[in-house]
């Protein structure tokens, strides 16, 4: 197969970091090429260079043998390169068809008069051919995340993209939906298109790609045929050392009495929809209950409602038998509910405040850290120094603004603060999203430690590997309800996938 894209010697520097340090990348026509690497390995920078968002400081880009220079994302689009970002670039109030032509400055999108019927017909045709059907007249905000992703792919197909880059596309999909996406990608590759698939999930890379290029610390470390690689060999290429893939540890101690009791919980989502429709669950002392599900099925709202950040419309939440009034985070904190929020940078910490200040974000009211209205600055400093050492927060001293920390260290700050309040319940929402392998190991260790100390852990995650490795029981969410609850030791990915899609348990 002839080469479609060839990047040679790509160097891209940002103040203080070299994001790409001589990357070599080459993908052929008609192949699915995986780009594998930890967070911070330079994958995003590389795809931003390929889509014209950044210009490389050094190195060259060749497309189908010809040297090209992109001055803007428009140039890359004209050259047939499209990207499906992790966070979709769609206009929520617009219809699917309108989103598809948005920014297409060659065809329909450029005309003064838009012919919606013609576009809708074309979108429907494409959807049928590639088996990614979406109603072209639906508004984007009405679509699930999985459907929105289809719109992004339809956009690329409508523009006749020859090279399609997908950044972590499976985060919003069930395993079955992911499989169907992989089929679509194979069909597209079969037509001679080049698919660049960015991921850090090894089994997906193995399932869908022909070849893999592994990046580490801004450099290309290997480019191999997928058939000749194993998950283990890819993982060690990615991390640069031998790693233990997440292993399930069977519980040895029995689960204690019920600590967190949620019954018939209902709450309204941000769009005024019914996000939670009668959820009941119980977590015992020392138990890890995982909530699985495709993103956007009410898991975030569940975490927010239990921790008081969202008002409930019905139902009850009780800790150690004491019911909470709800809708008040302070009440939940006093009841012993610790919370590792999904959005760690803007909810979990105040990003411009220092590490020390963020470590007392919840305890600044306590006698230990305040005397009347005045803060005990020395006690706060000492506490920070102690926690930074105990939780091994690296990257800066107590006075460093939290936003300058890496994701893993930021999460350590959040965990340190939440654990230091001696909680009864820990609600952890996607605690390892976007972290590198080493940081994930650390977070998992802390979660296990918390459970070992008798904390009731509610783990909300979209990562089935993580759930299967950590959880005792798994509750699967679908459209605001628990569609099934299974024992983590005895379930399969297929069973979970069925439940995630709303199917009945087998």
């Amino acid at each position: 197969m002839p080469t479609a894209v060839e990047l040679t010697g790509i160097v891209k520097r940002f103040p203080g970091v070299i994001a790409n340090d001589g990357v070599e990348f080459e993908a052929a026509e008609g192949e699915v090429h995986a780009l594998l690497g930890e967070n911070g390995a330079g994958k995003s920078t590389l795809s931003n260079i390929l889509t014209g968002l950044y210009r490389p400081d050094e190195g060259s880009i060749r497309l189908y043998g010809e040297h090209v220079t992109f001055h803007s994302p428009g140039d890359a689009l004209d050259a047939g390169i499209c990207m499906v970002h992790q966070h979709f670039r769609l206009v929520a109030p617009f219809s699917v068809a309108e989103n598809v032509i948005l920014g297409d400055h060659r065809g329909e999108g450029r005309k003064l008069v838009v012919h919606p019927r013609r576009i809708e017909r074309r979108v429907a045709e494409l959807g049928e051919r590639y088996r990614i059907e979406v109603d072209p007249r639906a508004r984007v905000w009405q679509l699930s995340l999985g459907e929105q992703q289809r719109v992004e792919i339809l956009k690329a197909l409508y523009r006749e993209a020859r090279i399609l880059i997908l950044d972590e596309p499976t985060a919003v999909l069930t395993p079955q939906e992911a499989d169907s996406l992989f089929e679509t990608l194979r069909v597209m590759a079969g037509e001679g298109r080049t698919i660049i698939f960015i991921s850090h999930k090894l089994h997906e890379v193995e399932a869908v790609s022909d070849r893999v290029t592994v990046l580490r610390a801004g450099k290309t470390v290997a480019s191999v045929e997928t058939a000749g690689a194993t998950q283990r060999s890819l993982a060690s290429l990615m991390v640069g050392r031998d790693v233990q893939l997440a292993q399930r540890q069977e519980r040895t101690a029995p689960v204690g009495e019920a600590v967190l009791e949620v019954s018939d919980l209902c709450a309204t989502g941000d769009r005024g929809d019914e996000a939670l429709r009668g959820v009941s669950l119980t977590v015992g002392a020392g138990e890890i209950l995982a909530v699985a599900g495709v993103a956007g099925n009410g898991q975030r709202e569940l975490a927010e409602t239990i921790t008081g950040m969202r008002a409930r419309t019905r139902g009850s939440v009780a800790v150690d038998g004491t019911p909470l009034h709800g809708g008040d985070p302070r009440e939940a904190i006093h009841a012993g509910i610790a919370h590792v929020p999904e959005d760690r940078l803007h909810t979990g910490v105040a990003p411009s405040l220092s590490i020390a200040q963020n470590l007392v974000l919840k305890s600044y009211r306590s006698k230990e850290h305040a005397a009347g209205p005045l803060l005990r600055l020395r006690a706060i400093r000492d506490r920070a120094a102690h926690l930074i050492e105990r939780y091994d927060v690296r990257g800066g001293g107590p006075q460093l603004p939290a936003r300058q920390l890496s994701g893993g260290n930021l999460q350590k700050v959040v965990l340190a603060r939440e654990f230091s309040g001696s909680p009864r319940v820990l609600v952890a929402a996607s605690p390892t999203r976007g972290l590198d392998v080493a940081a994930i190991e650390t977070v998992h260790r802390y979660l296990r430690e918390a459970a070992a100390e008798g904390v009731a852990v509610l783990l909300i995650s979209e990562d089935l590997d993580e759930i299967l490795a950590l959880a005792d029981r798994i509750a699967v969410f679908f459209e605001g309800r628990i569609s099934g609850e299974v024992d983590a030791g005895r379930t399969t990915v297929e069973e979970l996938g069925l439940l995630m899609a709303g199917g009945a348990p087998s």
């Binding site: 940002f14 203080g16 210009r55 803007h346 909810t347 910490v349 405040l353 974000l361 919840k362 803060l375």
Partner: protein, 368 residues
């Protein structure tokens, strides 16, 4: 080719060097304006400086100009610290002046030790109450406080005018036939005259001392208290504050009330220190509230810096009044103040970004 890059760290010396540099640049631009209008820049600057800061009379007049600016500057700084953009210092100052004058008139000519504190309290209450209108709208309905507080400035100006020019209000002097034809406010009793601190011919108005005291209290509030800590968290990320169990609505109300109260005391100081009557013309033509926003921005919301800058801008305004005439149009000082703000806000860019000379590569900002 020059490239703009985001700074990863912001060195401390920059936060002093950039404002100073901005002032220098604004003087440079001002020099061009002066040359273009046929004046010698060096000579004009020296005259400005002399009439602002050299000699007792100049200094005393500068203190008078600086006093209300210190209050409105602190008013803006207190709210801006929490990312609440209270543009209503102007109206809150009028509200304070109305209630301050009302308290003074009501108490009559008894004792100064009672009149003065009650004027301060009344002024603070007036400013706070007026600031609570945008505060309630913001806290409960998420209405943009910039718009509401700005619009309320016009309301306040019309109310003050109405009290003296269009009604037989308690504040209006109707004792003489003359006063009925040419409306003016009642003169405040002597007991309501705020004393100045006399230091060898230099008179520090009581209001200015009060302003300095408030600056110190604000500093303690910002840096040392739970309240200040909550302000910083809420200002930085309201979601993080809610997450941490902070009462964000209450804090919005409290901070805007404090901010308004400071401007209100500034209004009472206008009554007690300088005007000794409710003087709508004098108040509404000065634009104290708007200058206060400039001053808070220049002082980077640091209360002590705000007082110092209020003094410098007060000097500039005072020099403008003193020098205005055929050879020195009064608008020149306004142009200058605008240039200083423009350069200072432009200079903020240099604190967060740096310029670097590099090979010609067009760049987008690095998303970390």
């Amino acid at each position: 080719m020059i490239r703009v890059e985001r700074r990863l760290e912001q060195p401390a010396w920059l936060s002093l060097a950039v404002p100073l540099g901005s002032v220098v640049v604004s003087f440079g631009v001002m020099a061009i304006v002066l040359v273009a209008t046929g004046r010698a820049p060096g000579h004009t600057f020296i005259r400005l400086f002399d009439s602002a800061f050299i000699g007792r009379d100049a200094l005393n007049a500068t203190f008078v100009s600086a006093t209300p600016l210190a209050f409105t500057g602190l008013c803006a700084a207190a709210a801006f610290r929490m990312q609440l953009f209270n543009i209503g210092g102007e109206g809150q100052l009028y509200a304070g002046a109305v209630l301050g004058a009302g308290a003074a008139l009501l108490l009559g000519n008894h004792t100064a030790w009672l009149s003065i504190p009650l004027m301060v309290v009344a002024g603070a209450a007036g400013g706070a109450a007026f600031a609570l209108i945008p505060a309630v709208l913001r806290a409960f309905l998420s209405t943009n406080e910039i718009i509401t507080s700005l619009m309320l400035n016009y309301v306040a100006a019309l109310v003050v005018d109405y009290l003296i020019f269009d009604s037989q209000s308690y504040w209006r002097d109707t004792s003489t036939p003359d006063a009925r034809v040419f409306p003016q406010g009642k003169m405040l009793p002597d007991a309501a005259s705020w004393p100045g601190l006399h230091l060898g011919g230099i008179v520090l108005p009581f209001g200015l001392l009060l302003g300095a005291g408030i600056a110190a209290l604000l500093w303690v509030l910002f840096a040392r208290t739970r309240f200040g800590f909550e302000m910083r968290v809420i200002g930085d990320s309201r979601r993080a504050a809610t997450y941490a169990g902070m009462r964000t609505r209450r804090k919005i109300l409290a901070v805007l009330a404090i901010s308004g109260a400071i401007a209100g005391i500034g209004g009472a100081s206008q009554d007690g220190d300088f005007r000794h009557t409710l003087d709508p013309r004098g108040l509404t033509q000065s634009g104290y509230g708007y200058s206060g926003i400039v001053i808070a921005a220049l002082g980077r919301y640091n209360p002590f810096a705000v007082v110092v800058i209020a003094f410098l801008i007060g000097g500039l305004q005072n020099a403008g009044y003193t020098l205005q005439g055929v050879d020195f149009p009064s608008g020149l000082v306004g142009v200058m103040q605008g240039l200083i703000l423009f350069c200072a806000l432009g200079g903020e860019l240099l604190i967060r970004y740096r310029l670097r000379v590099a090979r010609p590569v067009r760049e987008r900002e690095a998303s970390a």
